[in-house]
């Protein structure tokens, strides 16, 4: 029984960060119709920036986030402005291809600078444990959970009640109508992409303590993020957070209860089944 609770707790904690990763992608997809296959490599980039800051100034990943978030946001804005914006109006596939090319550049740029060896970025809270009855929680996971949900709620509030949030939702619902109402669609798209990448930098710092990183990990993070976004019904933000929890929990259950190989298959099997039988995502109301 304690194993069950342990798996559940761990899955929920990790899943919340997956949800946060996916919110960035869902936001961008909703506003620009872009599926960014370099998403995971941007996470890598943010993680390796934290590593560099640690090696140079012995900064804790949580402190590094104060630097990486603005830097990544700026990178996001530049990437959208100079690489993705010129592709608006072309086939969906061309944008996918472009982000795949970008993924090659990022992944190998990181490899050139940091080498291919797995690396760790220590944090002061890394080995701290919290024991609740039978369940042992790692403090970094708990921090990740709290920050991820705080960010998600912050994002919802921003979307619901600020002018900028309303213009994002307007572009999301009908870009042409939004443009006619005087919303600067191009500006909204640049900013959402930048915010999406900035959110990644936060998620990267949350995932980093205790996780070994290597340059080739990008595609795996991209795939996990895609799974979550699709489970959430692409643009339904509550659904996406829920999708993150589902993937996190199924991964935790998979590794605890099923043998290694099959365990890694579990999230994909769940994904394919949901994709086939509930293509609108997990939530009942289609967005």
């Amino acid at each position: 029984m304690s194993e069950l609770w342990q798996a559940l707790a761990q899955g929920i904690l990790i899943g919340s960060t997956y949800g946060l990763l996916a919110l960035g992608m869902g936001l961008v997809y909703g506003v620009s119709g872009i599926v960014n296959f370099a998403h995971g490599d941007f996470i890598s980039l943010a993680m390796f920036m934290c590593l560099a800051l640690f090696s140079a100034f012995a900064l804790d990943p949580y402190v590094s986030a104060l630097i990486t978030v603005p830097v990544m946001t700026a990178i996001g804005a530049l990437v959208y402005r100079f690489l993705l914006k010129p592709m608006v109006g072309y086939q969906f596939l061309m944008v996918v291809q472009l982000t795949l090319g970008l993924s090659l550049v990022l992944q190998n740029g990181i490899l050139m600078v940091f080498g291919g060896q797995p690396a760790r970025t220590p944090s002061v809270v890394e080995s701290k444990l919290i024991i609740l009855g039978d369940v042992v929680l790692r403090l970094p996971h708990l921090i990740a959970f709290i920050v991820a949900f705080a960010m998600a709620i912050g994002l919802f509030v921003m979307l619901r009640s600020t002018d900028f949030g309303r213009s994002i939702r307007a572009v999301h619902q009908n870009a042409r109508a939004a443009a006619l109402m005087g919303v600067d669609v191009g500006r909204v798209q640049v900013l959402t992409f930048a915010i999406g990448i900035g959110i990644l930098a936060v998620a990267a710092a949350l995932l980093l303590p205790g996780t070994p990183i290597q340059p080739t990990q990008g595609l795996q993070y991209t795939v996990i993020t895609l799974l979550v976004v699709v489970l959430g019904g692409m643009t339904n933000f509550v659904g996406i957070m829920l999708g993150g929890l589902v993937i996190g929990i199924s991964e935790a259950f998979g590794t605890i209860y099923v043998s290694d190989t099959l365990g890694r298959l579990v999230p994909y099997v769940i994904f394919v089944l949901i994709m086939l039988f509930r293509p609108q995502g997990l939530t009942w109301r289609a967005s």
Binding site: G101, Q107, L219, P279
Partner: protein, 330 residues
């Protein structure tokens, strides 16, 4: 059934001159350059096979690593574990790949997947296949399988490495490109392009969508699997991280897109330009800074896509028409 254009291509002196000139290349180049060309031809064949589904049919399948992996890992496992002749292994693997292709096409049709869903589901299948190969000892597990040395015994699917492998790959590449030309000139090709451009309208005017998508996927899967078997025989080592990972599909799709999607010679052009570029960069720079060749490669891909989103082939054709106006009439 097949339009006259195909036979004209087949009879064209250009085709046979190029093939004959290519075939004597191994006698003139160093073994290193022959190796690069052989790899380039592998990707010409793979990208052209993918083009049947991805380019003509407009279905961006990321599951082709499944077919390459079946062709390579299954035939290698049958040979190493059970001593099955690799020719038989090639047929068994190709049949398996064809079946997998039919299943994927059926799932796509049955659940009416949109473009994005199809990309994602095939990516999920590819990831699942990679996990299965790494975790299943029969297929070599994470450490892969080592094939017996290539002694040049054709009956055992051995072509003596080097030149032999080059000729086999040249044949396979020519075959897949010609299959592309043939399909573009048959009703199947027209149906596929109709489905790509508007599936609902195609269905409404009575095009059997399931049937044509399935046929295209099976042709593509079988060709891909055969190339996979030949490739693993050339490499002698069945490396799951190369042959069964989704990354190889992503590379193939990049070549096809850069060259020109849905065109008979587009994917071949993309692979012929990009693979040697990547290999030469790797040879020159790989030892100095790991990753630099892929880095430059990625930049080239981005620049090409930004500069000519419809691919290099249309660009070349425009340049040709400007330089030699006479050619355009034919």
């Amino acid at each position: 059934m097949i339009r006259e254009d195909f036979y004209r291509t087949l009879r064209s002196p250009w085709l046979w001159t190029i093939l004959a000139l290519s075939a004597v290349l191994p006698f003139m180049l160093s073994s290193y350059h022959v190796h690069i060309l052989t790899i380039a031809l592998v990707y010409v064949a793979l990208a052209s096979a993918w083009n049947i589904v991805g380019g003509m049919g407009g279905q961006i399948s990321l599951a082709h690593s499944l077919f390459i992996g079946t062709g390579a890992m299954l035939s290698a496992a049958l040979l190493v574990k059970f001593g099955v002749n690799m020719w038989a292994g090639l047929v068994i693997a190709a049949a398996t790949a064809g079946m997998l292709g039919a299943i994927i096409a059926w799932i796509d049709f049955r659940f009416q997947l949109g473009h994005l869903s199809f990309v994602l589901i095939t990516l999920a299948f590819a990831e699942m296949a990679a996990i299965v190969v790494e975790g299943w000892d029969f297929l070599g597990g994470a450490s892969g399988l080592l094939l017996p040395r290539d002694t040049g015994d054709v009956l055992a699917f051995q072509f003596g490495g080097g030149r032999g492998a080059f000729w086999v790959m040249l044949g396979l590449a020519a075959l897949t490109v010609l299959v592309n030309v043939a399909i573009l000139n048959t009703p199947l090709g027209y149906y596929l392009r109709t489905i790509r451009d508007n599936e609902k309208a195609a269905q409404a005017i009575g095009v059997n969508v399931l049937r044509h998508k399935t046929i295209a996927m099976i042709i593509s899967a079988v060709l891909t699997s055969i190339v996979g078997t030949a490739y693993v025989r050339y490499l002698t080592f069945a490396d799951p991280y190369l042959l069964a990972s989704p990354v190889i599909t992503i590379e193939i799709v990049l070549f096809a897109t850069v060259g020109g999607l849905g065109r008979a010679y587009g994917p071949a052009l993309g692979a012929l330009l990009l693979v040697p570029l990547g290999e030469v960069l790797r040879g020159k720079l790989g030892g100095v800074v790991p990753g630099l060749h892929y880095f430059i490669y990625g930049i080239v891909v981005i620049v090409v896509i930004l500069a000519t989103p419809s691919g290099l082939l249309p660009l070349f054709e425009r340049l040709l028409t400007r330089c030699i106006p006479k050619l355009t009439k034919t």
